[in-house]
Symmetry: C2
Subunit: 345 residues, 2 copies
């Protein structure tokens, strides 16, 4: 991955995952280390620093997507990496807090190809661990005194509140053509876009950039989040578990109303009608899930989802272009946006 | 209750629950009302504004202990109620967030004489609702711009982080004489004292009082929390469910290592030895729980707990005296401290 970015920009790429990791992971590890011991252990496991026995581990520590975005924008507005280093750690702590709680709420048993934290340590401690991660992230921005700190702290707390709203909205989605799809879009703007908007916007606030720059960056984050979530929905049904780190078709096994499903259920076609009947059957056999996947595809769910994801990715790049970042940073971020949405490519 | 306070102070008591309620509840209700609808409903239920069907309700909305303390101290340092009104709402939102999550983590089925929120709405949505309450509380202090706002926001985030640590530590307590009791004390300082310290300290920060005033008030909160928690532990075993709003002996049914139990288990006496043997039996019959309660009493757990709770209440009042608040406020707070710890009296 680092080779790819370096060749795309022709420079010592700021986006190099190695650079981001070496800036952010020590901050996160230091934060975790002062937690109450059982919380430190669960959070360390969830973040991939240790395995379930407490031994050092190098797997499972995510892609630091949000930290990478923040640090690339920082470069594009003339900041040094250390100007947003702790905020980049904070957004990753918050993102991971939401994953830890969401896995409990959704009874998802795998995260990044390893057993989810609640499966290893129990749901009770995992609830407190998710809270601990959330507060670690918020304490960084609340205790910060750098330029724009008040606006940044406010945007972080607003964003994490929106993620909780989106997580709840996702649990209460109902099928039913337009209303269902509208609720889905609202849910995604909260659950997937909010922290991305925050990641892209933070360096602009730190650098004291004018409102239109912040608005352009936040707009990019909003569209990037929608593109990413719809792409994840497609990956759940037709993706490669080795890439997603999750069992295939977990969403349709649980009958989650993801975007391709909502599109297909509202399709006025024989495949859509057949899907509506089979969707409510209890079966979770591989054959039944395959039949559902085929009907979703046939009713247009896959095609419409892929097209809409691409369209939101294009909009994200378009908004990014309006932010007036340095050409190098714009190019790096464009590459990064594409890699985030099309990670399997 | 309001009559009691009014007669104790001989004035239009600031501590009157009615006054505190009318200052704080509208702020909380307004905050809740803008949440995602399913979260608004769960939080509204948990806070006692509505019943499980969504109809208006007047039961189950707690005692606003932390808001009452904050507003009484505010009066004592020369602030108006509106100077800390939103912070008083914030501390109640945070406290309730911890209760909502703790009920899930502990599978407690009753809260304030009503089914716990997770029993009514399911654990998944209740996890997100607890997060939503937590963020509502933190947003109030993060977005505030009044005097001392940065120090106040920092103390709130620190305090809620300590509560999570204490909740986790409680789940991992081990019996075993001194080590067990030391871990218990650490747990209580985090779980019970942190938000009380924050409640008592906030008005001093807002009023720009010197460090020794803040230290005295925080010290009062620390001892008050320990006195309250030990008193709650005693109430669980020998209290009146009509007062506690919880089934009696829930803690010993789940074999939680509360203070009287830790004391009794480490007693070098026949009753202590007998308790150690019976404690690990699976039985949860009323007879068995009664036998455990009698042995805890016989081994000195009840007496030691009551004595220690009283001693910490005395220390809380002593620290309060050093804060140099107005005599009226000091008298009101002394009455309030006593009522908080000895609510059944």
């Amino acid at each position: 991955m680092s080779t790819h970015v370096a060749s795309a920009t022709g420079s010592q790429a700021l986006l190099s995952p190695r650079v981001v990791r070496s800036a952010v992971l020590p901050v996160i590890q230091q934060q975790i280390s002062v937690l109450e011991p059982s919380l430190a252990r669960i959070c360390g496991y969830h973040l991939g620093f240790i395995d379930e026995h407490g031994d050092p581990s190098r797997g499972g520590d995510g892609k630091l997507t949000r930290a990478s975005l923040m640090m690339a924008v920082a470069d594009g507005v003339g900041l040094r990496p250390e100007d947003v280093q702790s905020q980049a750690a904070a957004v990753e702590l918050l993102h991971n807090a939401t994953l830890l709680h969401d896995d409990i709420a959704d009874t998802d048993e795998l995260r990044r190809s390893r057993p989810a934290a609640w499966k290893v340590f129990g749901a009770s401690l995992a609830i407190h661990a998710g809270n601990a991660l959330q507060i670690l992230g918020l304490r960084i921005v609340v205790d910060d005194s750098g330029p724009g700190h008040k606006e940044i702290a406010s945007s972080f707390t607003e964003a994490i509140g929106l993620v909780h709203a989106g997580q709840a909205r996702e649990l209460t989605l109902q099928p039913g053509s337009d209303a269902g799809i509208a609720a889905y879009e609202q849910m995604v703007k909260e659950k997937a876009s909010a922290l991305l908007e925050c990641s892209l916007g933070t360096p602009a606030m730190r650098a004291g950039k004018p409102e239109h720059v912040l608005a352009a960056l936040r707009g990019a984050g909003r569209h990037l989040g929608i593109a990413l979530q719809i792409s994840n929905d497609v990956e759940d049904i037709w993706g490669d578990p080795a890439v997603t780190g999750k069992p295939i078709r977990g969403d349709i096994e649980r009958r989650n109303l993801t975007f391709p499903v909502l599109v297909a259920l509202s399709a006025d076609s024989p495949a859509g009608d057949r899907l509506s009947r089979l969707w409510h059957a209890d079966s979770v056999t591989a054959e039944h899930l395959q039949a559902l996947a085929d009907l979703i595809d046939e009713a247009g769910g896959r095609h419409t989802a892929q097209r809409l994801s691409r369209s939101h990715l294009d909009s994200a790049v378009e908004h990014l272009g309006r932010a007036g970042l340095s050409p190098t940073a714009t190019a790096e971020l464009t590459t990064l946006f594409d890699r985030i949405v099309n990670r399997a490519a």
